[in-house]
């Protein structure tokens, strides 16, 4: 795509071999410099994207003396683990980092498992059956997925207060399951629909019951889709802030990681080394997870509106 010959750049009527050769050389040179310029632009874009995260990591390793120095250095001159020690010891909030990691992982994993299971059933219905309200249901999913969470949180807060689900991890699991569902169903139904019906029919002729057909044919073929939808659900639930902020209130022991980082920042908003260390410990797992799975995600990302 980059090497489309442009007629204007050839020397008109050049029959002399030497001139032709030099023209070709010029074109090659121009193409090489164009390539270099494009690559440079690419590196700049990558730097712009990575800079804040790299700066966070670098700050997390800086001793207090370098934090407020007159000339900030991109890499710490005397790297230290003191900031991480502050976070692990729990000197600020009275509880170590592990407690909040445990909360976050528990909520996220349960919510992802439940929403994947429920979403799979719904996706099979929407992807493999034709029924009356199918289109209506799909439109509802699109709308529901874009409702503002800070609007619904008022109503959910009042409901959850009545049924004692405030300050409870179960309440958050329920909400995360629900809000992960529309995207999960929307993406999974495409995978469910692409499994060829002939495969199932052939298995049925061979005497396989519906249950066998589901386990042996449908599920293995849908499972790549299941992986990418659960990654999206995982990232959503692990990062979620508004509901955690509202429902967990002041029960610091139940905080999830995003709430912990925000609280940490609010409590000692001058100790940037420790704040960045807590933020690093929150961010790096999700970015690493994303890097490991991004190949699978590429198609799903493009396939839908998946950010809340």
């Amino acid at each position: 795509m980059t090497s489309v010959p442009v007629p204007g750049s050839t020397v008109p009527g050049s029959t002399v071999p030497r001139r032709a050769r030099s023209a070709r050389g010029g074109r090659r040179l121009r193409r090489a410099s164009r390539r270099a310029a494009l690559n440079l632009a690419g590196v700049l874009v990558a730097l712009f994207a990575l800079f804040p995260v790299l700066w966070m990591i670098s700050t997390a390793f800086k001793p207090a003396s370098e934090m407020y120095s007159l000339t900030p250095h991109p890499v710490p001159l005397h790297p230290t683990l003191a900031n991480f020690r502050t976070v692990f010891s729990g000197s600020v909030i009275g509880m170590p980092y592990w407690n909040f990691l445990k909360n976050s992982l528990f909520i996220t994993i349960v919510a992802v498992a439940v929403s994947s299971l429920i979403g799979l059933l719904a996706a099979i219905a929407l992807g493999r059956f034709k029924f009356r309200f199918r289109t209506t249901y799909l439109i509802m999913l699109l709308i529901v997925q874009l409702l503002p969470q800070q609007a619904l949180v008022v109503s959910l807060f009042i409901d959850f207060r009545k049924v004692n689900l405030l300050d409870s991890l179960v309440g958050l699991i329920a909400v995360y399951t629900a809000f992960a569902l529309p995207v999960t169903i929307w993406m999974l139904r495409n995978f469910a629909a692409t499994v060829p019906r002939e495969l199932e029919e052939a298995a049925a002729i061979d005497g396989a019951g519906a249950w066998t057909r589901f386990w042996r044919i449908l599920l293995p073929l849908i499972s790549p889709g299941l992986v990418s939808t659960s990654v999206f659900a995982f990232i959503f639930a692990y990062n979620e802030f508004v509901f955690a902020l509202t429902f967990l209130g002041t029960d610091t022991a139940k905080f999830t990681l995003p709430l912990y980082v925000q609280y940490f920042y609010g409590q000692n908003s001058t100790d940037w080394g420790a704040i960045m260390a807590s933020s690093t410990l929150f961010t790096i797992p999700v970015l690493a997870f994303f890097l490991l799975t991004q190949r699978r995600l590429a198609s799903g990302l493009v396939a839908g509106a998946v950010k809340g």
Partner: protein
């Protein structure tokens, strides 16, 4: 859904009534032969259920039941309830059960519409979306156009790096950006102070506080949301660009069209639906921004820095709570976003993503 390239090959055949997947197909063959009477009667119940499901085509509805129940109870019902609360005087007395909630007509709405802070916050949300959406779209499209011209390895490197910005949690991004622009030790103030004066730099930037006034705070938020938002646009535009017929682009170039003209006369018209969907989604995300604004403007501390989401939230969750007023504001926010969502749904239908 965003690109037309994603439409799938086969449409589901109308076989819903013939194969409900949750019921065993041939219990008669096996059950009658080898299973004891007790379980045979159990099977016959199952069998009868299977026949009923098949006869009425209930399979898909049963499969949808759990998802519908969860979404209904935790998303749709709360949305309806917000509408109901907006006509009630729901406050501290009502939530603690001391007094019953009363219907008070439109008075929550009239109270909000007469509140200058409401209009201020609405204005902030609108201005913010008007600035950030075009910036994100232009930046994302430019990066998309760059990605398609890069070699495969470089393309992967740049797009994965960019997507890391997209995947960074909103809470982390907010805390990081507050640190970057911090008056003491922040790298942005340091760099701006070092910049030559003809580029707008100068010593007056040293110690400049970004988060204590609306315009600087929202400037930081603008940069942050462009940073978060451009990778998604770039990757989507890249996917769209790769569906373009190369002959068409070549033909345009052969006719002597420059890059600018090729984009506006060929690329943009073909990818118009993709850009429309991206613009609508970005509008919904940026207008409804909450987490980043909450942290950067100081945890509801600065009332004059509220956007509509913060205004609404603060009505309910700062003392004393006014859930009725908050619901009215939430309803306004939701309706504005629903108008944009309708456009989005229409665009999605036009692209055939509901097939």
């Amino acid at each position: 859904m965003v690109t037309s390239s994603h439409s799938r090959p086969g449409t589901p055949s109308p076989a819903g009534s013939t194969s409900p997947p949750s019921e065993p197909d041939g219990p008669r063959n096996t059950a009658a032969r080898s299973v004891s009477r007790a379980s045979a009667s159990v099977r016959s119940v199952r069998q009868r259920a299977a026949i009923w499901i098949r006869k009425h085509g209930a399979g898909p509805y049963l499969l949808l039941l759990p998802a519908t129940a969860v979404i209904g109870a935790l998303i749709v019902w709360p949305a309806i309830q917000v509408g109901l609360f907006s006509f009630q005087n729901y406050g501290l007395m009502q939530i603690s059960g001391v007094l019953p909630a009363q219907w008070i007509g439109f008075s929550n709405y009239s109270q909000i519409l007469h509140d200058p802070e409401f209009w201020q916050s609405l204005k902030t949300s609108v201005y913010f979306a008007v600035v950030v959406v075009p910036l994100t779209l232009v930046a994302g499209t430019l990066v998309g156009l760059l990605l398609v011209r890069l070699g495969p390895k470089m393309r992967t490197f740049v797009s994965v790096s960019a997507l890391l910005a997209w995947a960074t949690p909103a809470v982390s991004a907010s805390v990081i950006f507050v640190w970057l622009v911090s008056p003491d030790g922040g790298v942005v103030d340091w760099a701006l102070a070092k910049l030559p004066s003809w580029l707008g730099g100068g010593a007056h930037w040293a110690g400049f506080s970004w988060t204590n006034a609306t315009l600087p705070a929202y400037t930081v938020l603008t940069v942050m949301l462009v940073w978060t938002g451009f990778p998604f646009i770039a990757v989507t535009v890249l996917a769209g660009l790769r569906t373009l017929p190369t002959e068409l682009l070549e033909a345009a170039r052969v006719d002597g069209a420059g890059a600018w003209r090729v984009f506006w006369k060929v690329t943009f018209p073909i990818l118009r639906p993709v850009f429309l969907v991206l613009a609508l989604l970005s509008t919904i995300w940026d207008f409804g921004m909450f987490t980043q604004a909450y942290i950067v403007t100081g945890n509801l501390g600065n009332r004059d820095e509220y956007n509509l989401g913060l205004y609404e939230y603060s009505q309910a969750f700062t003392q004393p709570p006014h859930y009725g007023l908050a619901s009215a504001a939430a309803f306004v926010l939701t309706v504005i976003l629903l108008i944009v969502t309708v456009g989005y749904v229409r665009a999605a239908i036009k692209q055939g993503s509901l097939a």
